[in-house]
Symmetry: C2
Subunit: 391 residues, 2 copies
């Protein structure tokens, strides 16, 4: 079996607290790791590194686990740059803008959608993302939701059925019938390509009873719930996520004390998406309150053409530190191990023996530079499943 | 003479208001331009493009003038990532931290400093910056200031003598003697490598009389003034810039009405550095007030290891739009033509006949994406002085 020795690691973030400095990041210095097939086979001091067939030199730079972006909406066509500019000039963000993208997405060919996802997944990889979750939700017909998931499934196992993104325009006068469609034939056609079921539980989208119905139907088909919750105002989304045993409640901007407690007690990951608050000029979620309560926090991009079209996990880290007062260590953990927790994955988001060999070499001596050097493309090499993908 | 036809330009930002849509950006669609030697020789509709020896296809993407980063401090050694992390945990930014970098810079060899500047200039170029101003100010001895400028001068004509960054530690008890040094032998040794003279006129650095003395001495040696003004609190810096006919007053966070009027009336460019406010968690300057008064606004990075270690002009644009409510068009203009105005350059920051052929191809259909897609590395090709430098 071919083994590759990755040496010259100035600083290694393992996210294994039994390693290194004993912090959640499990920080090691002057380290090497050995990759066999798609896995990390050995981690330890550079001076004790075993012989290997191949060598890769990290040049004394920092190496971190690949980012796990646990919330994105990459299957779409068109863009909404003009809407963005109007919003920056004072127009508020409302969920209804989603329908603009629905029309463009339905009109696109399979080839166009596939090319668009490929382009964005590649753009993410160049920024250090090695696992991405992708949702449907811009089709809103049986055929268009199923094809969105079929397209997404070519790029990731982490596909999420979001037929319940907004009520399809054809059903504006009969949302109950739309919920029936989402829970019936649309789910039937989509489930073969999906691991997760998600619902946008928010004023202007779906109320708590509709949302519960959707999640229950998805669960009955073997999908695991996640919820868009408490983004635009206070609401029942987080409590529903807790009640349904969801893996993650995403956004979490408007929480009361019971919501925070529910997330911590139910082990529902609070997935924060600060690039959306940046791009909609909205208040940021209170990460410190969630961390203080013992909730698990993930950071993700929410990359989508409406509320936030950034694919940059490094930007999310910089915003988490600047705007949400997470420490650089907490932010990096949330962007890697936190994302893995939100996807209930034990094999990614860390770099210890047995982990998938997904890692990023930064053009920096320390992971601190991700927050210290905002906007700067610091990713110089990316390995995915044991192979060099970038650099 | 070899001519290159740059075709397939989906959207061209010329910054020439006599072209295209008549806005300050002088926006053209489906355009071509011809490059001869280091200049733009022709701009016009793609269908009317003349024949040329070589072809370059922009792939229907947006093309903008190269960014003009008119304020940076690239000649330094060491980093201050730990100080950054401490600041994000609540410690305030003060000018005194500069002395940490002074010690590291003095200890570095010429080769180390040159390699560091080369690395950062390359990093900037990959992000679309084709002209960068570089200041001294981490030497603070005759020898160390002169060598900082000699190093910087290898990379740009836009070098700025900033012996008056802070009082050198050796002169802590006798700032008057330090000002004499700055205006005497240090200036003498530095002037051959500098175009500009700058002073940090702020509590904790230099008062207005000291600052005036420094700028007058620089002017007498043929250097043109610029001023670090009104960053940390209200102060006399902007008025001094106006009185001295400075090209630019930089920071401009704490202004009163008379300051705003002075900038507009004296034609002093207000150079805003929002990446510093981002990295110090400080209030952003009021760009709208400056624009409403008719002042010329430039955006620059201030890239330095203390108050803001970003080299990213796209981040500055995104912050200007999000935090300072500039329109995407105003922000792009300020990051290109505005920077050129701050450097009193008519040949850069625009793309019309006779301009230097410094341009950037974005992986986007419109310049709007610079603000719409924050953190995403959108620069796919960079031409500098008529030659492909990146991509």
């Amino acid at each position: 079996m071919t083994a590759t020795l990755v040496g010259g690691i100035g600083e290694l973030v393992t996210n294994d607290p039994t390693l290194g400095d004993g912090s959640p990041l499990g920080l090691l210095r002057d380290t090497a790791l050995v990759v066999e097939r798609d896995r990390v086979a050995w981690v330890g001091p550079a001076r004790a590194a075993p012989a290997a067939d191949l060598q890769f030199d990290a040049g004394d730079r920092a190496v971190i686990p690949g980012f796990v972006d646990s919330h994105s909406h990459l299957v779409f066509a068109g863009d909404r740059a003009e809407e963005f500019a109007a919003r920056m000039a004072g127009q508020p963000y409302e969920a209804g803008g989603i329908r603009t993208t629905v029309a463009a997405t339905r009109a696109a060919t399979d080839e166009q959608l596939t090319a668009q996802v490929a382009r964005h997944v590649d753009e993410m990889r160049r920024q250090g993302t090695t696992t991405v979750e992708i949702k449907s939700g811009y089709g809103l017909t049986v055929v268009d939701e199923a094809r969105a998931l079929a397209v997404a499934h070519q790029f990731t196992e982490e596909t999420t059925y979001l037929g319940a993104h907004v009520v399809a325009p054809e059903y504006a006068d009969d949302p109950a019938a739309y919920v029936e469609l989402v829970c019936g034939p649309m789910l039937e056609a989509s489930a073969p390509y999906a691991r997760w079921v998600d619902v946008f539980c928010e004023r202007g989208a779906f109320d708590v009873d509709q949302a519960r119905t959707v999640l229950q139907a998805g669960k009955a088909k073997g999908l695991i719930p996640r919820v868009h919750a408490n983004q635009l105002g206070p609401g029942p989304g987080v409590q529903l996520a807790s009640e349904m045993g969801a893996a993650s409640a995403d956004h979490c901007t408007f929480l009361d004390d019971a919501d925070v407690t529910a997330l911590a007690d139910a082990g529902v990951v609070a997935t924060l998406l600060p690039a959306v608050e940046f791009s909609t000029r909205s208040p940021y979620p209170d990460a410190r309150r969630l961390l203080a309560a013992g909730a698990t926090v993930a950071l993700a991009t929410d990359c989508n053409p409406g509320s936030g079209y950034s694919s940059s996990m490094p930007l999310c880290i910089a915003l988490a530190v600047r705007e949400m007062r997470m420490t650089p260590a907490e932010a990096l953990w949330s962007a890697t191990a936190g994302g893995a927790a939100a996807l209930r994955r034990a094999d990614i988001g860390r770099l210890s023996v047995g982990s998938r060999a997904d890692f990023v070499v930064l053009d920096a001596p320390s992971y601190l530079h991700l927050a210290y050097r905002p906007g700067v493309p610091l990713v110089t090499a990316v390995w995915q499943a044991g192979r060099p993908a970038i650099g």
